[in-house]
Symmetry: C2
Subunit: 375 residues, 2 copies
Amino acid sequence: MFFKKIHKDANSKARAGLLRTDHGTVETPIFMPVGTQATVKTLTPDDLLKSEVQIILGNTYHLFLRPGHKLIEEFGGLHPFMSWDKPILTDSGGYQVFSLKEIRKIDEEGVTFQSHLDGSHQRFTPESVLNIQRSLGSDIMMVLDECAPYPSTKEYASKSNVLTLKWAAIARELYEKQKPLYGHNQWLFGIVQGSTYKEIRQKSAEELVKMDFPGYSIGGLAVGEPPEVMYEMTDFTTDLLPDNKPKYLMGVGKPEDILENIERGVDMFDCVIPTRNARNGTVFSKAGKMIIKAGRFKADQNPIDNTCGCYTCQKFSRGYIRHLMNVNEILGLKLATIHNIHFYLWLVKEARKHIIENTFIDWKKKILPKIKSVI
Amino acid sequence: MFFKKIHKDANSKARAGLLRTDHGTVETPIFMPVGTQATVKTLTPDDLLKSEVQIILGNTYHLFLRPGHKLIEEFGGLHPFMSWDKPILTDSGGYQVFSLKEIRKIDEEGVTFQSHLDGSHQRFTPESVLNIQRSLGSDIMMVLDECAPYPSTKEYASKSNVLTLKWAAIARELYEKQKPLYGHNQWLFGIVQGSTYKEIRQKSAEELVKMDFPGYSIGGLAVGEPPEVMYEMTDFTTDLLPDNKPKYLMGVGKPEDILENIERGVDMFDCVIPTRNARNGTVFSKAGKMIIKAGRFKADQNPIDNTCGCYTCQKFSRGYIRHLMNVNEILGLKLATIHNIHFYLWLVKEARKHIIENTFIDWKKKILPKIKSVI
C-alpha cells in the first residue's frame, strides 16, 4: 500500500500517515523543500539529511529546459544525477508555463510556450509531461493541469477545469500502460482545480476520484487569494478526497499556513519560502521570525534559536550570520537555509507527534502566535 | 618550541616540519586556504576539516572594516566568531592598503587610506595593526610592511625596505611587551621585502633575523614577476633565514609554484587560486586542470578525479557540477571549492611524504607535467 493513515486527530481532520516509496518511507504530514534545478538551493544532499528532510521536490519545467530530461535520463534519472537517494516529487511544469502569460498558447491538446531563457518554442502535453517525469524518475509525478489565476471568473475556472480533467484522463490512461524506466515505482497524482468556486472544485475532485489516482493534489491555491479563502477551499476539498490517499496542497506556504492546512486534512506541502526567505535574510524560529541582516543582531552571540538542533544553531551566532549576510558571503545564505529547512521539518514533525497524541489543536493554538511574531 | 624541523630532503632544500600552536599542530609544508571575511568562501568549518585543512588565513584589512576587530573581540576573537578551532594566520592588512594606490598616503609612522567600501579615512600603523591582530586572536600575526609593486626601481625598493624594517622593529618591540587577550600564544612573523633585488632582500633578511622573530615571511613576490624570478628570489631568501624558523611565502600560488617553492625551502603558503578558480569554474586534479563549465563535460558521469577522496568526488559527476555552474546554482561553487581545497591539501601532504622519504624531486618531476596540463 502506497499510503497508510496511521492516526486521525481526535479534535480535527489532521492526520498522521506513511507514504511508502521505493526510495524510502515518508512520515506525513511532511514538508518538501524545493529543489528546482536538481539542488535545494545552497544545500548538499548531506545537509538535507542532517536537517531531517525526507522528500524533496524537483521542477519539471526547469529541468526540461536545463539540463534537459534526456540528459538526466543518461545519468539514470534525477536521483543519481543529484546524488539524492530519498524520495523525489516532481511537478508537471504546468504552473511555470501558465505563469508565462504573454508567451504561451493553450489548446485542447496541450500548451505551446517560449522558454524564459532563450525564447525557443516548446510544447507540453499531458503525454509529454508524463514522459519527461518518467525520464526524471521521480517517485511521485503530477499530471499536466491548468492552474487558473486568482481571481478567475467562474466561467473561466469552469472551462479551465474541463480541460484539466480531460488532460488528467489522458495522463491516467497513459500511466497505466507505462513501465517505469529505472525499476522503482512512480506514483501519479491528479490535481484538483476550480479556483475559489466550491462547485467547480467538487466536480474536479469527483471526476478525479473516479479516475482512481494513487494520490491527489490541491492546486490553484496560494496564488494571491486571502489565507481564509485558501483555508476554506482546502477544508472543502479534502473532504471530497478518499481517506486512504495522500492529499498534497501545492505551493504552501508560511509556517502558519502549514499548520492551518494540516488541521484541514492536508498531508503534504512544498514551498520556496524557507529557502528563498533564508537567502533574503529572514529566518524562522519557535519564538518568531527575524530579519537576521538587521543591525540589532550585530553583536548578538546567541544562536538563531537556542532550542534548535540544526548545524547552524549548534555552531554559529546571530552576529556571525548577520556579518556573513552583510558582506555577501555565500556561507550566510547556506547557514540560514540549513536553519529554515530544519525549522520547517521540525514543525511538521512536531505536528505529527501532537496529532498522534490528540493534542494537535492545543499545541497549534499555543505555538501559532509565537511563530507568527517578529523578534 | 614553536617550529620543529622533522626532516630535510636529501636532494633539495625541501623540509618537513611541525608548527605548534595552541590551536593544534600543523604539518609543514602546508597550504592555508584564504578566509578573507571570516569564512573560506562557500565552505563551513566542517567542510574545511573534511578537506583536511589544518590552518586558514584571515585578512586583517577586511575584518578591520567589516565587522571590525572590536566587534570580533566581543565574540572572544576570530576562532569563536567563525567557529573554527584550528590555527589561524592573519596578514597585516598592508598588502591590501598598498594596493589602494590612488587613495592611500604613506608616511614614516604608518599609512592613511580610504576604505574601498565607503571612502572613510582610516590609518594603519605598526602598532595598530598588531593591536588589531591581538583582537582577532590569530595564532600567527604579521608585522605591517610595505609590499613594493613589480616592477620597482632599486631606489624605491631600497627606501621602502628601510621603512619596512623600521616598522618591523617597532612591532617586534611592542609584541614583546604585550600579553595575548585570550590566553593562547600569538606568534609574530617578520616579512622579508626587497622586490627583485638580492642585495636589498639580503639586508632585509639580515636585519629581521637580528630582531629574532618566531617566523619569517617572504613578501613582495607573486605580484606580477615571471615565475623564474619568483623562484630565484625565494631560493636566495630562504638561505638567509634560520633553519629552525618557519618560512612562509605569501600569496603563492599555482600548484606548480607551490612545488617549486617547497623545493626551495618554503614551509607555508596561502593563495586565493583554489577558491577563486573554483568559483570561476576551474578545478584542479592529479591528471590536470579542467574548465568544468565547458560543454564537453555535459554528459560526463565521472567525478572530477576518480582517485580523489573529497566529498565532491565521492558523490557527484562532472556533468552534474557543470549543470550547477551552468544554471548559476551556489552548490556548484561549493562543490568545486571543496574539491580544489582538498586537492591543494593533498598536494602538500604528498610533498611532505616524499620529502620524508627523500623522493620529493623524483615525485615532483613526475607529477608536475600532469598537474600543469589541461584536460
